[in-house]
């Protein structure tokens, strides 16, 4: 459909691509507010232990440090994936995305183990208000990560099928943004929940 005199329309069409990125940034704003609310709820309820089971007794430094390092590393590898994409190397792009997904999987695995262990010690979501807010905040982040893993895998399949083109580039950029965002949220969880919890 190469027709002359469509400069105006081509102009709008060109903009449609950047629309997606802008829209996603605004979506991240809304997601930020969701996490802000969950942090606020946690801040109010963290001392409402209804007797026993405080964070100091429950949180294990080794476990959450490992989770933190793994997630930070995955953010780094997703950055390396973007670099590989800029260089046009499909092989390296897919490689780094695979590493990112594997790191994300081990993060989710560790978190599930941590949650299961806490529940087995009698610290479940229904035990007291502190634990309710803890599981909701950290669990929401975990759900976001799990969703991101499925999403990233879907993008990888598309790269395998279509190679690096405008569509897949945009998708990698957006899923990368999402991944970094979850990393930032985790830094806050690490600080507000775990570090303040064990202090």
């Amino acid at each position: 459909m190469a027709q002359p005199a469509i400069s105006m329309d081509a102009h709008q069409e060109h903009h449609h691509d950047t629309f997606k990125l802008l829209g996603f940034w605004i979506f991240l704003v809304t997601d930020c507010i969701i996490f802000a609310c969950l942090f606020a709820v946690y801040a109010v309820l963290r001392t409402h232990t209804d007797g026993d089971l405080t964070g100091r007794e429950l949180f294990e430094v080794k476990g959450f440090t490992a989770e933190t390092l793994i997630l930070l590393a995955s953010s780094f590898t997703s950055g390396l994936a973007s670099l590989a994409m800029q260089k046009g190397s499909k092989k390296h792009l897919l490689g780094w995305l695979t590493v990112t997904v594997l790191l994300g999987l081990s993060f989710v695995g560790l978190e599930i183990t941590e949650f299961a262990k806490m529940a087995s010690e009698g610290a479940a979501i229904s035990t007291n208000a502190f634990l309710s807010s803890f599981f909701t905040l950290v669990g929401t982040h975990g759900l976001h990560v799990s969703f991101g893993l499925i999403w990233m895998t879907g993008v990888m399949v598309q790269i395998g099928r279509y190679g690096i083109d405008a569509h897949t580039k945009e998708k990698v950029t957006i899923v990368g943004l999402y991944w970094h965002f979850l990393d930032v949220v985790w830094i806050f969880i690490f600080t507000v929940v775990y570090l303040l919890g064990v202090m």
Partner: protein
Amino acid sequence: MGEKAKGFFVTGDPLIYGADVSIIITLLGILVFLTYFKKWGWLWREWLTTVDHKKIGIMYLVSSLLMLFRGGVDALLMRMQLAMPNTHFLQSQHYNEIFTTHGTIMILFMAMPFMFALFNIVIPLQIGARDVAYPFLNAMSFWLFFFGALLFNLSFVIGGSPDAGWLSYPPLSELAGSPGPGQNFYIWGIQISGIGSLATGINFLVTILKMRAPGMKLMQMPLFTWSVLSSCITIIFAFPVLTVTLALLFVDRFFGAHIFTATGGGNPMMYVNLIWMWGHPEVYIVVLPAFGIYSEIVSTFSKKKIFGYKSMVFSMMIISVLGYFTWVHHFFTMGAGADVNTFFAITTMAIGIPTGVKIFNWLFTMFRGRISMTQPMLWTLAFIPCFLVGGATGVMLAAAPADYQYHNSYFLIAHFHQTLIGGVVFGYLAGLYYWWPKMFGFKLNDRIGKWAFWTWNIGFYVCFMPQYALGFMGMTRRVYTYGWDMGWAPYNMVSTAGAFLMGIGFVFQVWQILYSIKHGERDLTGDPWNGRTLEWSIPSPAPHYNFAHLPEVKSDDAWWDMKNHRYGAAVPNKMKEYAPIHMPKNSGIPFLMSACWFVAGFGLTFEWIGVGIAGLAGVGICLLARSFQRNTDYYIPVDEIKATESSLGRVV
């Protein structure tokens, strides 16, 4: 399990059996009609899969009018119950359910979709765009709203309606207080449609920021566009809070958590704070676009540029920011202390200032204008005194110490109905009359419209003025009956009479629409009101692609300027060359994905985990399917544009 199955269908009340029968008859009627006239394919191709903002707007409009009917019937049932003392027309439980569904439906399933209808129909046309920024997402928003509303309304006949008030405060709305599925219907109905509202907020913000016609600067945008911009910003900051709050309530109910419970260290007042952090901005979300509508109408029908354009823009932006800092005034009685209450009392009163500025601007626009008393103008004129009284009683309520007297009384009920009906509903109706010709190509009949206008307005004052008095006399909201000794009987009787007058007004409007479909004055020019903004520069109804040529904007009131200086679309030009137009393809995914959300919501409402997971899996599959789609757009060829334009009389 047997117990559960027994409670599945709501039984025992003749009103509900009547509803069951009418629902089944209506459904059968629709199915027979579609099959007999072979309309299934048409329904799927033209409506269920459409991504055209104009059609989506019409679907929003139809749904919101249906919901206005349902919410209105709820209101009349309540007024019948309260007309006389010691009435047993409704049981207390049934009354609780009705005031809950009345409030929830009127705000979330009537006002919001009515507003989105006007966003969809007007904004792209007003800024000279061919669609919204994300047409696919726009269709998704509508269907999420639709299935959310369907889920909520289903509670009437299946499982039982929610009964904990329109904002469902815990601990009453917790599992211990409301063990049935009703409260889950509330959570999932609102949650599903809320995701759609949030997406619409993002969609129209980007549309307005990025898709304005070439040359249209921000400070040249029509005021309705500005009002939608401010409303969208508020949606983006407020709706996530609603999402979290409802999700946390569900976590409490589903997993037995203790976030808002009265036991286990939970904090019920935190819910009240959170829900009003959404709830208060929400009233500005719905009223700001109404302000925009009034601005358009006052300017058009006074034949004058709006007075104080810049101050209009600034006051709307100030309202959308300040609206976020007033939420505690809904519960001064929480006992947060004098300092906190003072802060929120001052912010609340401060909002009166930009609102007052706007009122003066409308009045000054009319001053020495050549006013024509059309239907949109009538509703605008009715709005000004009504909103003024509503605002003044609002300032009375904002005085924190005095609020301890008014709190939860009928004084409050009268106040917020006056702002929400006098401000929001009057505004949307004014907008409906104003843009109706643009949507459907004909005007709504004037004579029946005036009957509707006067019954609505007289009915409004007869209904709500006595309620201010009842509030002072000590009548609190949500009482389902009272004794003769209270002395409330005459006022309540008058109030009920007023409510029925408003009901008659609505019937007039339905008649008006049906009558005008056949006899309404056709709009052949596309500019029936001698309008000032770009939507009036194209034919009514607008062609699929809106603008054959994107307009070049040189000033504010762009279309008025084109008409006066004879350029742009005001000059028919046979030399115009068309170019192919890039448009999005229809898609069935928004409908299917929202249907999956409905299945998920229904399953989680009844705590049928399997159904819930299946629904969510369906949502995931739809998302992935969309992600893998590549050819989502097409071009309208030049020949088709030429044919359409000449059939509309636009090619000389």
